[in-house]
Structure formats: C-alpha cells, structure tokens
C-alpha cells in the first residue's frame, strides 16, 4: 500500500509532525467556509467537495466588498485567504464570486 506524504508547512490545515515530513490532513468544506467567511467581512460562502476527496472544491462566495472589483480581483481576494493551500492540499478550487446576495 502506498502512502502519500506531503512535505509541507501549508497554513491553515491540521498538520502533524512526523519524523521526516509533515502530514497535512485535507481541508474540509466547513473549514474552508469558515476561513473565507472569517477573512472577508460580511462574506457568505458555500463550499462543495466536488469528488469527495477533500482536494477538489467549488466555492461560491458573496461579499459586499466585491462590489466594484473585477472578477480577477474578486477571485484573488479568495485565493489570498486560502494562500499556499491552493496548489497544495487544495488541488483545484472552482470559484464563483458575487457582490450581492
């Protein structure tokens, strides 16, 4: 049996030290929702795990501050919240952003 070991210090995820590496436990939809909503004032986020594997997500994020921002800027804001996890424990994040509910 093979075991994937991530050598990572990715922020936010539950991490455990091991002898040679840090094992990163995959983020949950609830955790991602909480992180987005905690970091973007007034935001509401719906996060779906697309394949049940904890690494492909779709997030729909609505936030007042998105008004007046381009889509690129809106998405960058969300990517910024999740930081190094994008491309790490989160292999793929499909994003939909909206200014109003």
């Amino acid at each position: 049996m093979s075991v994937s070991v991530w050598r990572s210090n990715a922020s936010g995820s539950v991490a455990r030290s091991a002898d040679l590496a840090t094992l990163v436990i995959v983020p949950t939809t609830a955790e991602l929702k909480q992180r987005i909503e905690a970091s973007i004032p007034g935001a509401s986020a719906e996060v779906v795990d697309l394949n049940g594997g904890g690494d492909h997500f779709r997030a729909t994020v609505t936030a007042p501050e998105f008004a007046g921002l381009s889509r690129i800027e809106q998405h960058r804001r969300v990517y910024g919240v999740l930081g190094a996890d994008i491309g790490g424990p989160i292999h793929a994040l499909s994003l939909v952003t909206r200014a109003e509910a």
């Binding site: 990715a10 697309l50 594997g53 889509r71 690129i72 990517y79 994008i86 491309g87 793929a92």
Partner: protein, 136 residues
C-alpha cells in the same frame, strides 16, 4: 548570467507580449491534461478565435514563474493583449455572458453553444496531480 528561473520568466513575458491571445495550460489544446484546461480551450475554440498555448507541465518552474508574474495561483490562465483575463471559471462565465467574445474582439458564431462544451467534467480530478509544496 541569468538563472534558469530568470530565463523562463523572460520567455513567459515575451510569449505574453507576442501573442494576442495566449493560454497557459496543462497539456496542449489537442491533448489537454486537465479538465479545467480542456474547458478553457473549448470556450476559445467555440468562438473560433485563434490562440496560442503554452504547456506548463514540462517544467515546474514555468508554473512557478508564471504565477509570480500574474499573481494568480492556478492553471489555466488566459491572457488577452498582455492582460490576464482569468482562469477556467472566469473564462467560462465570460463565455456565457458574451463578454469573452467582446474581449477577444470576435463575433460568437451563430451555432456557438450557450456553454462551452465539456470535454470532461470540471470536477473530475486532473490526470496528473503535482506536488507543488516543495516550491517556494
């Protein structure tokens, strides 16, 4: 002497400057190696617009340097006239609203589908999974 990273970065900057419509993707337009890249290619092809593409898979430093230039963490990335337009989600959304055709300066063909055709489900796992965590 410039480092390999600097050379790659310069080559990326040059490619963006030289190609009006440039897609950085996993795989090639003929053989995309990720559902998100495939869908973005499908959107461009549905509009019949000529575009250039760069496969980022052959060298991990391509992706690293590209993201540093674009301030965008994911692949694919579509550039039009030197500006980042977005990734798969934004391109798909702009396709559906007609903005993509507008940005590209093309008329959407009368038979263009309402949504870019799905080569694969966007939620399907990519065919290759990279460990990006060792890159700083």
């Amino acid at each position: 002497m410039s480092t390999p990273e600097q050379q790659i970065s310069a080559a990326i900057t040059e490619a963006i400057a030289e190609n009006d419509v440039l897609l950085f993707m996993k795989g090639t337009p003929e053989a995309p190696r990720c559902g998100f890249s495939a869908r973005t290619v499908a959107a461009l092809e549905a509009l019949g617009t000529p575009f250039a593409a760069v496969d980022i898979l052959p060298d991990p430093r391509i992706r690293q340097e590209l993201s540093a230039i674009s301030n965008w963490p994911t692949i694919p990335q579509l550039f039009v006239r030197g500006e980042l337009v977005g990734g798969c989600d934004i391109v798909t959304e702009m396709y559906e609203t007609g903005e993509l055709a507008q940005v590209l300066g093309v008329e959407a063909p009368a038979d263009a589908p309402d949504q870019p055709p799905l080569a694969t489900e966007p939620g399907a796992p990519p065919l290759t999974i990279e460990n990006n965590l060792n890159r700083s």
